[in-house]
Symmetry: C2
Subunit: 486 residues, 2 copies
Amino acid sequence: MADKSKITPRAENFARWYLDVIQQAELAESAEVVKGCMVIRPHGYAIWERLQAELDSRFKATGHQNAYFPLLIPMSFIKKEAEHVEGFAPELAVVTIAGGETLEEPYVIRPTSETIIGYFYAKWIKSWRDLPLLINQWANVVRWELRTRMFLRTTEFLWQEGHTAHATQQEAEEEARRMLDVYADVAENIMAMPVIRGIKSQAERFAGATRSFCIEAMMQNGLALQAGTSHELGQNFAKAFEIRFQNKSGELEFAWQTSWGVSTRLLGGLIMSHSDDRGLVLPPKLAPVQAVIIPIYRKDEERSAVLEKVQQLTSELRAAGVAVNADDREGYTPGNKFFHWEQHGVPVIIELGPRDLAVGNVVFRRRDAAEKQTVPAEGLAAVVVRTLDQMQTEMLEAARKRRSDNTVLAGSLEEVRAILESATAEKGGGKFVMAHLKDDKACDARLKEFKASVRCIPLEDHYDGPGKCIITGETVPHRVVIAKSY
Amino acid sequence: MADKSKITPRAENFARWYLDVIQQAELAESAEVVKGCMVIRPHGYAIWERLQAELDSRFKATGHQNAYFPLLIPMSFIKKEAEHVEGFAPELAVVTIAGGETLEEPYVIRPTSETIIGYFYAKWIKSWRDLPLLINQWANVVRWELRTRMFLRTTEFLWQEGHTAHATQQEAEEEARRMLDVYADVAENIMAMPVIRGIKSQAERFAGATRSFCIEAMMQNGLALQAGTSHELGQNFAKAFEIRFQNKSGELEFAWQTSWGVSTRLLGGLIMSHSDDRGLVLPPKLAPVQAVIIPIYRKDEERSAVLEKVQQLTSELRAAGVAVNADDREGYTPGNKFFHWEQHGVPVIIELGPRDLAVGNVVFRRRDAAEKQTVPAEGLAAVVVRTLDQMQTEMLEAARKRRSDNTVLAGSLEEVRAILESATAEKGGGKFVMAHLKDDKACDARLKEFKASVRCIPLEDHYDGPGKCIITGETVPHRVVIAKSY
């Protein structure tokens, strides 16, 4: 039972609010004895399992198979791809002692698995008949981060990493785009979190990729969250690990690869997209428990009649496909129970007492509504099913509207700066600023002056066509998203 | 496509046969660049996923929730429980460098999670109301083993570890027994692998437990495999980590704990329980693909008629709940395809050619049958469903019979030795020898002279009652299982 300690209002301190919501909903706990790590508690893990199921079924439907590769990677592997080692070297956790002895060659704990998987792909891929090779792995990875924040950036995190090999660059590009679309589908239609599909600027590209696609979401405070990435790796790792196949003409060619991943970071995005000052708000499609029924009674003679009706309604809801719990625990007040489930983000909370029973009603509260409403007990299952559907749709719409309200166009670097600085001053928040900017590391670097970055070059929703770069004045094809980000 | 290289017959070299089956069924591959590790390939991982689903649903049905705790454990934690550190210290992999710096306190990669979980349980458990706490974790663990063998003993392996805390010793004991029963249920009714439920001798007990329950299986060569364990931890870890709760009388008490786990080792047990000289044999309930239909045609005019019928049968089987694939790949002969699926352990392989089509038949082969049979295409789905059921039952019966045939009673230490040595000499195999033996480390030690051990003190199937210990002559309540083991 969560205690009644208050959740800091978003307007007062967004970062504190975020941690309070996590604590009160019992999603996770900081593991202060293991630097930058966290424990994912049962409620948080149950949401992750729902998300895994949605992703995994889509991976399988698009022809991918799961496999598992070693946690430990020989240090020399990491160094084989020049950009890759440059990107990951500062974040590595290194095993130097094992079985009581100092290792001749240390192992690193995987920060990502392109290298170790590349080694095996080189053994498995001999002919065009072996392609495409479409494998996904659910795994933990470790990146020694300096500043960590629960779910968003932790030293260890859980994720999936897809690794594929193809006969042509075009097939690899199609794969990278296909998986980006899978991510966007899950983000929008399951998490109710609208995302912009885009291409990372060269400065923000994955270490070792030729092109990185991403989905970028806006949190309630206007800051950006990179929610998933899908990379075209070209032949970079194929050359580093000698992944070659005989093509139909009998010639040896290097394979074209992709990799793509989303992680427990998505749960951070979920929390910051929808939750309110009363706690977690979960979209119905991800809620491990979609409805709770709380019986209310004072006298013993009321108890059995109320519990019987609660049991009946629970059965009806379950039969209608709703993940429902009756909270008939003794020793807690109905108010405590309501408060508990509200903080845990249950989409629909239903209360039933003797007076409701007498008139054939229940009291009903949609998690994201301000008020409770009274509805007939007869036909409740249909009302709940419809409400869950509506809530799912309206949560996405509300998040879309918020993003739209907080997206602005800018025509100069000074304007970008002014917009972002005023958003920060106002409430520690941000905006998505759409501006024309050349895809060049020097241009990205200028944004660091005010702690912003190019989140992506959108694949769609460009607002308008070509324009002059706000830094170099050169004509570029369309606006990019500039924002502060997590 | 698996190549046609031969699988070493079991009678010739059982260990080689085991590796050949794994290779030909593409279950896993030794990761020789990461000492003692392996890659679980898609076919192996798909079986693991089926097994996970069966276990996970039973864990949830018995009130457990999943969570996730950190991979890295401070070195000091491991040392807090005296027996625990003694047991695990030699096998630890140690992270000494992270983020480019030498760590003040090294972390170990979890070999098991009693210690890190104990730390958090101490924070979460305050009152009897917080009990029982029933959590399971699906995770990877690392134990630096000297001699490794794919699936059976690898440096890194995947497993689940349940960790529970209770208000009384009796509740903890009931929990440990309950989960032992869950393991036995999955082993026998899903894996078709009969197991003996028993108690580990003191010499074989988990490091830190007060009592270890186990399920022990017999492999085809008569050797024993510990397939799962469930431990009563008493208050050992509660005292080491100060896990205390206020009982109903308001007094502080240490919690009573259990832990229990099964791992990817089960896949090794599965292979060695059922497979034959033609390759993998999978029990239908665990087979990711339960039936394959192979079309046979030579001329183009045959092709469309055969494929149409194959498509129709595939739909009928799928509608009947069979996980079926039609193997209509071009470029492989029907013989190649048959060989491939046979080696991969698919329970039912169906072939359909123009002559079969003309007379309304298909050719049908149950994986564990010697001969193909001809059955009518009409009503095929019902035949397949029935066959899968029968095969599941008969595989368990066959394994039970083999175990029974290879279990013998012995009345003296010399007799135990003679039985085991003759079994080894005959075909490199083993027996289960049932003998009266005192539960004492000195007695267990004598068995090491001939490389055997007490596998367990059975909870049932004792063969007979009390008798004199074959070493000390003292009366003990019943016979124990002595065997060579993996």
